[in-house]
């Protein structure tokens, strides 16, 4: 939700934050949703992509795939003490393979609010006139 993130990357929720990802493909929308999620925690423009991690999951349900993708990224980032700023995702049927790049937290990085996890609330992955949109509430 920092100044570099598009304001329409978020929607209202009483206590937590609604994130929205958009793209020409479903995979791009998921990548954009990841950016919106991590931008809640810091200014992504200041994050250097010095380390990369791979992400793999099997999921037939595209909405659950969004939640699992985001939660896997959050888990891997916390496990490594990192923040991610760049994301890539490809899909082959039920197989999702991607990567995330970023760097370990350092004092100069802006501290926003920690995202605990992506929820199934207001979860939606849909085709729109302009491409794809993926949204859900993240718990902070």
């Amino acid at each position: 939700m920092n100044t570099t993130e598009a304001p329409d990357a978020y929607f209202e929720h009483g206590a937590d934050i609604g994130i929205v990802g958009r793209g020409a493909t479903m995979e791009e929308a998921f990548e954009d949703a990841a950016r919106a999620t991590f931008a809640v925690m810091t200014d992504l423009d200041a994050v250097k992509a010095v380390e990369s991690v791979s992400v793999e999951l099997e999921e037939a349900d595209q909405e659950l795939a969004l939640v699992r993708w985001l939660n896997l990224l959050l888990g891997l980032a916390r496990e490594r003490g990192m923040v991610f700023s760049r994301f890539h995702l490809e899909r082959d049927g039920e197989s999702w393979r991607g990567s995330a790049s970023g760097e370990p937290w350092r004092p100069a990085l802006e501290r926003g609010v920690e995202v605990k996890g992506a929820t199934l609330t207001m979860l939606e992955v849909k085709k729109t006139a302009n491409g794809w949109e993926a949204r859900c509430i993240v718990d902070v």
Partner: protein, 477 residues
């Protein structure tokens, strides 16, 4: 909230009448007309969904501080009978399993330490890891983490973080029984390796407060509280481990619900019968996460004591009580004239056992369980005492906080963190944070009036007010 859809039971308790042909349990919403009117309609929708879950006993309820959550509303309470197909819901516990408040009473008077507060604030902000990306000094391997998940605060005390005396004043004596660390994923454990003894961010805080007003002298005496005294409240939970358990089981239970014959009105209410392998697996993991939270608050208590003693060598900080407010616990409750074992979900709600309850420490047996309603950093918090009638009204449950009145997004539009910190400093409240954005999102004006919440909690009979605490120092994540 659209009050025209509610039916008043009394001034402080409301219900939602069943529509023609509607199949669900009873719903009860506690609170004043003013508090309910200000709530989002989603609260009504979410608690109605909870009332549709199998094996519900009594009513699905919201506390006076309720607000729109995910799955369950925050401030939601619901009890389920395992012998009647009752369920356990990961969404009914939340991501921050066993998030709660540790309250410490001190032997210090505000008037004696006013000049030391800035130094104390600096020490606490330097000594207590807080905020996104921060890690603690304690690094644990997987096998040591399994000991944490098994031993809870008892593990922490054995490692030198605090004393045996602390344990008497923690729910479950600091250790939730029947944890199964093997049911916790490796990723969850890896997330926690550097996070023991950390505060987190969002609405978590460590506050130094002064007892501003006593409402119930007798209970205050039992709790060791008097006007002018300093107390400390630590609000946090099970950190990355709990968050990962929440995410792991939310998806697996949501996927398994249809196979188990459960029709979910909202996928976020992902659940399984308590007496099913899936339900038992989650319960084992959840109990382990509760122990993680209890150990975490115990370590933070120790760090707080170290900081106080650095500035004030004769400072004594005793645990007043440690209450969790994101839990599901097996408890025996009175139902239709008999006692039954129920699994009581409290998501953003506090257990509030009344006077005489056998699980209370002897010192509080006559007064009832201490209940903490945490306020916003600019207003204040309340300590209350559980009542006998809360057992009949809400399976002994009460409010847990002021409750949000506006979204984080709206708060960011309305306030600037730096400005708030300066304004609060002028009011004598020292805020220490690394996240000005976090401060703006947590602006006091973004919360309900804690006085109204505490009053409604008392008037509804859920708990009675004992003391009002005014913040002096607030460390925010």
């Amino acid at each position: 909230m659209d009050l025209s859809r509610l039916q008043e039971i009394n001034e402080w308790c409301w219900t939602i009448p069943l529509a023609a042909g509607e199949q669900r349990g009873e719903v009860r919403l506690y609170g004043s007309r003013e508090l309910l009117a200000a709530m989002d309609n989603k609260v009504m929708e979410q608690i109605t969904n909870v009332a549709r879950l199998p094996g519900l006993v009594g009513a699905a309820m919201t506390m006076p501080d309720a607000h729109w959550g995910y799955g369950f509303p925050i401030g939601g309470v619901a009890a389920f009978d395992p012998e009647q197909g009752g369920i356990i819901s990961a969404g009914g516990v939340g991501f921050d399993i066993s998030c709660g408040i540790r309250c410490l009473r001190t032997n210090l008077e505000l008037k004696d330490v006013v000049g030391i507060l800035p130094s104390l604030a600096r020490g606490l902000s330097e000594h207590i890891p807080a905020g996104v990306g921060e890690e603690g000094e304690l690094k644990l391997n997987i096998s040591e983490l399994d000991e944490v998940l098994t031993g809870g605060a008892q593990w922490a005390v054995k490692r030198g973080y605090g004393t045996e005396a602390d344990l008497e004043f923690i729910e479950e004596h600091g250790r939730m029984v029947d944890p199964i660390p093997e049911n916790v994923s490796i990723l969850a454990k890896k997330r926690q390796r550097g996070e023991m003894g950390t505060l987190g961010s969002g609405n978590h805080y460590l506050e130094v407060q002064v007892v501003d007003r006593i409402h119930d002298r007798e209970a205050a005496d039992a709790y060791g509280l008097h006007e002018g005294q300093l107390v400390v409240s630590i609000h946090c939970g099970s950190r990355g481990l709990g968050h990962q358990i929440g995410t792991d089981y939310l998806v697996s239970l949501a996927k398994g619900a249809s196979r188990l014959g459960i029709s979910l009105p909202d996928r976020e209410l992902a659940c399984a019968p308590i007496n099913s392998p899936e339900g038992q697996q989650y319960i084992g993991a959840m109990n382990a996460a509760m122990n993680c939270a209890l150990a975490n608050r115990q370590i933070l208590t120790h760090l707080t004591r170290e900081t106080f003693r650095h500035d004030i060598p004769n400072a004594v900080l005793e645990t007043l009580y440690d209450v969790s407010h994101n839990t599901c616990k097996p408890e025996r409750h009175a139902v239709n004239g008999g006692k039954r074992l129920l699994y009581v979900h409290r998501k953003g709600a506090t257990r509030a056992f009344g006077p005489g309850h056998p699980s209370l420490p002897e010192r509080y047996r006559a007064a009832g369980q201490p209940v903490v309603i945490g306020g916003s950093m600019g207003t204040g918090s309340y300590i209350l005492a559980g009542t006998v009638e809360s057992e009949r009204l809400a399976f002994s449950s009460a409010s847990h906080g002021a409750g949000r009145a506006m979204s984080r997004h709206q708060a960011l539009k309305q306030w600037r963190g730096r400005q708030l910190v300066d304004e609060l400093a002028r009011e004598g409240i020292l805020i220490r944070t690394r996240s000005m954005r976090g401060v703006a999102e947590e602006a006091p004006g973004a919360y309900k009036d804690v006085n109204l919440v505490a009053e409604a909690t008392e008037r509804a009979g859920l708990a009675r007010r004992v003391a009002f605490l005014r913040p002096k120092v607030c460390v925010k994540g």
